[in-house]
Each structure stands twice: as structure tokens, then as C-alpha cells.
Amino acid sequence: MVSAVQTDPRAVAATVTDPELPMLTLADLGVLRDVRTTDDGTVVVEITPTYSGCPAMGVMRADLLHALHAAGFRDVEVRTVLSPAWTTDWISEAGRGALAAAGIAPPGRAPVRSPGPIPLQLGPARRTAACPQCGSPDTVEQSEFSGTACKALRRCRACGEPFEHVKEI
């Protein structure tokens, strides 16, 4: 077992992967907000949910505790932070690369939300995403919702393959 003295808890927490997108670490996903050690030696980890109903939060907590305990940190506290709300803009460049390599189109820039009313979008979503299989930009959205809340379903017109796209929020 690795001694806690020799290991940075942040480095350990940063290796934990997302249960639904296992090609991404929680750090790459932007869910891991902070790792610090208090004066009494407790490791405090802060995570934020992607979506309000994200069913993976419990598993993320368990995996973080497991990894840190295994690395020799005895006292670990995993806290939820709700603000600021998670945005796909927090997915790292490495994370975007890992998504694309796994056949999932990474998100574009998240829409900027003004303080006032949210304008209605009656037309088809103006998102674009290149096909992660063949690279063609000629793709069409099938549904704004897919296997998980964070993804939309698209199809490539060039190669015909369906693929998922992490939608911008």
C-alpha cells in the first residue's frame, strides 16, 4: 500500500473515471472541482453533478472513496457542490480527445445564458458535430436525448453510422 505521505490525493482522485463514460476521468469531465487536505489530515474532495438527475453520483463518490482509501488516505470526505452549475465547457482537451477516440462526438461551446428569459428554439437544434467515425461534417441530429442525459443521438449522412454527441449545456 502506498503511504499517504508520499502521494498527492489530488493525483489519486484525478485517476478515477466516470462510471458512464469510462474513457474520461472525473477530472477530464470537469466534475472533480477540488481536492484538499485539512489541518487534521482529512482529504476533502468536491464533486459537482453533471445533471440534477445524474444517477452516477453515488458511484462516483464510492469510487473516489475507494481509490483514496486504497492509496492510504484513511479520512476522506466527498462533498457535493451545486454552484456554479456544471457546463460541458469544463471538459478538458484530453477529455474531448478521449471522447472522440471512443466514437462519441465532443461538445461545442455551451450557449451563454443571459440573466433574462430563455429564448425559445423552435427550429431544429443548430448544433453541429463531425462524425467521429469518418470525420464528415455532414451529420444530422436524430434526437436531443440519448442513452444518458448528457448526450444527443446523431447519424452521419456520409458513412451512415449513428453516433452519440455530448450536448452543450
Binding site: 445533471y51 453515488g58 466527498v78 440573466p115 423552435l122 436525448f145
Partner: protein
């Protein structure tokens, strides 16, 4: 030890942290500062969180009734995801109500291991629910379901957008997150209403029937309860009258484009659902929602 399958790994786990649900481990507000802001009555704050939380919980339950029945697979997935977002918002809001001690009799009826938000969801009587009639009404056909979702999401989005500035930081954070989600719900429903209204004769007729059935449910939507009035004055809540123009504007815009007739807005009525007055359809819905938890109060899943 090397496990052959994921099931063996789960069976060999030494603690129940490997389970995603039912451990009480993933409390939605774990580690969040739940201090009530100065000058705010915690009982009012809890009551308001029940209103918004129950709207989300009841609508989520209605939407899940479409599972295995949606007109196409993509729509099944979409409705499921919308319901999941709402269920997540409900968990946060009911947990917030629990954090300020607004639990009614649910805490006495639920076993100690049941978290506050589950106690509130499973162990309150229909008269203790604070959702509006708009979300409790039966689904009807798919067109009516989408018209109701459009109306409910439009109202919710307008309220949550304002609550981003609430003086209660927990409510403001839940709202900021919810705005991103409900914007997707509203626009998804709006596009369906457009397709159905401006579609075939049959789809137009069904969409218009849906509008005519849903509109009377909007009567008590803009009338504030005493709780909302007090909390709005304290900068914590939104006076529902303040969102009326915006809601009417959005709904009219969608219906006009969908070639649907906009019914007259119903005359403002006194609050009903918000003060616990519900029709039999809520009791029936809660019977399904609460049945398992009440028959097996210590069960986890």
C-alpha cells in the same frame, strides 16, 4: 481477489458503497451549506421547496407512464431523460425541504434509514403534496402529453430563471442547474407541438384537443399562496403572477406557429394544488409511486 464478473465483484464488496442506490450514501445535498439566510422563515422555505419539488416529482412520474408506450424509440429515450432530470430536481428540492425540517408526518411513517427526500416522496398523503393540477392531470394521448409538458416546462423555466437570483443560495444553485435542463424540455415539447399542430388533419385535431384540455389547468397558476407572497417579498421565491406574461407569450408563439387556436386564458382562480387540494388522479398516481416503499418500508433498491 480477481472476480470473473461484475456481479461477483458486487457480491464480494465489503461495504455497500458499490451500490448506486439505496445506501443513503449519495445524499443529494451532502456537504452543501444548508444554512437558511437571515430573515427567512425556514418553514416557508421548506413549503416552497415542496411546491417546486412536487411539481417535478409528479410530472416525472406521469412521464414515466409513457415508458414502453412512446410512439418511437428515440422519443421513449427522450421522455425518460426528461423525467430523470425532473426526478433529480425533485430530489434536490425535497432534500432542501428536509434540511429545514419541513417533513410533515413523513418522518414518523418512514424508517430512520430512509433519507428525507425519500420520506417526503413516499410517506406523505395526497393532501400534503403541493404540486399544481397541471402536472397531476392524466397524460391523455401523446399530443396532450406534449402540450402539457410544453405548458409545465414553460412555467418552470420562467420560475427557475428568476430563482437563479434567489437569496437562498441552495435554491439559486438548484435553479441555475435546472434552467439548463428545462430549456431542453420546453424546446423539445414545443417542437412536437409544432409538428403535430402543423401536421396531418388527425395530428392537428389531437393537438388542438390537447390544448383545449390543458388550458383550464392553468387557472390557478398565477395566483400566489401566502407562502410565495412572503418569500417573494424576502427575495427568496418568485411571485407566480410575475411570470404570467412571459408564459403566455411563449405559449402563444408556439401555438400560433403550430396553426393551433389559442384558447382564452382561464380567469385567475384561488390556489388549489399549492394548498393541498387535489383531484383523485393524484391519489391514484401516488398509489403507484408509493406502493412499494409503503409495503416494504425498510426496502432499498
Amino acid at each position: 481477489m480477481h472476480e470473473e464478473t461484475v456481479y461477483e465483484a458486487l457480491a464480494n464488496a465489503q461495504d455497500d458503497g458499490h451500490w448506486a442506490f439505496g445506501t443513503g450514501f449519495d445524499e443529494p445535498l451532502a456537504g452543501v451549506d444548508t444554512t437558511v439566510p437571515d430573515g427567512v422563515d425556514p418553514t416557508d422555505l421548506g413549503a416552497y421547496c415542496l411546491m417546486l419539488g412536487d411539481d417535478a416529482l409528479v410530472l416525472a412520474q406521469r412521464l414515466t407512464q409513457w415508458m414502453t408506450n412512446a410512439p418511437e424509440l428515440e422519443e421513449e429515450v427522450a421522455i425518460g431523460n426528461v423525467a430523470l432530470d425532473l426526478l433529480g430536481q425533485a430530489r434536490l428540492l425535497l432534500a432542501r425541504a428536509g434540511s429545514v425540517g419541513v417533513l410533515g408526518r413523513s418522518r414518523e411513517l418512514a424508517t430512520d434509514s430512509v433519507p428525507d427526500e425519500d420520506a417526503l416522496a413516499y410517506f406523505r398523503a395526497p393532501g400534503e403534496f403541493r404540486n399544481t393540477a397541471l402536472v397531476a392531470a392524466e397524460n391523455g394521448d401523446f399530443a396532450r402529453t406534449m402540450v402539457r409538458l410544453l405548458a409545465a416546462a414553460t412555467v418552470r423555466l420562467a420560475v427557475l430563471a428568476r430563482l437563479r437570483d434567489s437569496r437562498d443560495p441552495v435554491l439559486a444553485a438548484i435553479a441555475a442547474k435546472g434552467v439548463k435542463e428545462v430549456a431542453y424540455h420546453r424546446d423539445h415539447a414545443a417542437r412536437w407541438v409544432l409538428r403535430l399542430g402543423d401536421g396531418t388533419g388527425e395530428s392537428h385535431r389531437r393537438a388542438q384537443d390537447g390544448v383545449d384540455a390543458v388550458w383550464p389547468l392553468l387557472a390557478d397558476l398565477s395566483t400566489a399562496t401566502d407562502v410565495e407572497t412572503r418569500l417573494a417579498a424576502a427575495g427568496v421565491a418568485v411571485d407566480p403572477a410575475d411570470v404570467l406574461d412571459e408564459v403566455r407569450g411563449v405559449l402563444t408563439q408556439v401555438l400560433d406557429q403550430a396553426t393551433l387556436r389559442v384558447p382564452e386564458w382561464p380567469p385567475a382562480a384561488a390556489p388549489r394544488g399549492r394548498v393541498g387540494e387535489h383531484g383523485p388522479e393524484l391519489a391514484e398516481l401516488l398509489g403507484t409511486l408509493q406502493g412499494l416503499a409503503r409495503q416494504h418500508p425498510a426496502a432499498t433498491w
